[in-house]
């Protein structure tokens, strides 16, 4: 490889450009890690994990909600028939999420393919946050 190629961002040239891992990148990485550790220590000290009352199979508590990361799915199941919602979230969504990069060439064969793909996901993220907010506020 000639020295003239060194400013290319082609992945083959990655080995020859950029900052060294140590100390340049390591210092950044370490400072972020230190901040995260400080952050969780701060939260854990300030707001300790609650214990609640012991499990009672005979007393259904009011307003039971799943953890926040399940709220959007929980809300979808209120609007669509249970089986349909479960088929979408358990059987259709995961394989699409896992496998769509294998179809990248076909997606981008169309000029706007990637733009549409990224727009769908961006809208999906906002929709999920919206649904989770509805669930959090207790909308039926």
């Amino acid at each position: 490889m000639s020295p003239n190629d060194s400013c290319e961002t082609d992945s083959h040239d990655e080995e020859h450009s950029g900052v060294p891992f140590f100390p340049d990148h390591f210092v950044k990485e370490a400072s972020v890690m230190a901040l995260v550790v400080a952050g969780v220590l701060f939260l854990a000290t300030l707001i300790p994990a609650p214990m609640g009352s012991p499990a009672d199979a005979l007393k259904t508590p009011a307003g039971i909600k799943p953890e926040w990361y399940f709220l959007s799915v929980y809300q979808i199941l209120k609007y669509v028939p249970k089986t349909v919602g479960i088929i979408i979230t358990f059987l259709i969504f995961p394989p699409i999420l896992m496998l769509f990069p294998f179809f990248y060439k076909r997606i981008t064969a169309w000029h706007y393919g990637r733009l549409v793909l990224h727009t769908i996901v961006a809208l999906g993220v906002f929709f999920a946050i919206f649904l989770a907010s509805l669930a959090y506020l207790g909308f039926e």
Partner: protein
């Protein structure tokens, strides 16, 4: 004088390996958005350490689970801190996984030849979620019990496989000792072993393929 480093170097060529690791160039386009994956791994390490400490005292039975955690909180030095760190980091880990996925997605870093690493990452995301679901039952408080009841009922409604998934999770007709030992086994044995293996694969693939070029 020969040092222990010399000893290792003669056998494993450690100096060259270390030099390669230290000098390995990080591309110029890497910015602060690239830190979420690393933070997720840090969260995993915090969860491993605090989780092991909790496992020293936690008892996975219907009778003892709740009181064993009260014991951790009230009597064990730093018990409140360790349990609270575990609970907070669990939530932060999921946020960081999602941020990391969004970063990778919108940078198009999933595109060929990195499809397999995206696939591994999605499985890691689902494992992280399952960690959350299985860990939620363990304190055996009202929230754990009823959230798990709703969760296992939903899993029971999956077409065809549902009843088997539910039977596998519950280990009986309703939430009981069998459920708790199963969730505990999933949370502290099955998932940690699986996530460790997949993390190694995830990192080796990044190492081999390098960081993706920007779109």
């Amino acid at each position: 004088m020969r040092t222990p480093i010399d000893f290792l170097d003669e056998r494993f060529d450690v100096r060259r390996a270390t030099r390669e690791f230290i000098n390995h160039p990080v591309p110029d386009h890497v910015n602060w958005l690239y830190c979420f994956g690393g933070i997720t791994f840090l969260c995993f390490l915090i969860q491993a350490v605090t989780g092991i400490l909790l496992a020293f005292y936690y008892q996975p039975t219907m009778d003892a689970a709740y009181t064993s955690i009260l014991h951790i909180m009230d009597d064990i030095p730093f018990g409140v801190l360790i349990r609270s760190l575990h609970a907070w980091t669990a939530n932060i880990m999921i946020i960081m996984v999602v941020f990391h996925m969004l970063r990778v997605f919108f940078h198009g870093a999933y595109r060929p030849p990195r499809e397999l690493n995206w696939l591994t990452g999605v499985i890691l995301f689902f494992i992280t979620i399952t960690f959350g679901f299985s860990g939620y039952l363990l304190p055996m408080n009202q929230l754990s019990y009823w959230a798990t009841k709703v969760g296992t009922e939903i899993s029971g409604a999956i077409p065809f496989a549902g009843q088997y998934v539910q039977a596998f999770l519950l280990g009986g007709e309703k939430i009981g000792d069998a459920t708790l030992t199963r969730f505990y086994t999933i949370h502290v044995v099955i998932l940690p072993v699986t996530i460790s293996a997949l993390l190694v694969a995830h990192f080796l693939m990044v190492r081999k393929q390098g960081i993706a070029d920007p779109l």
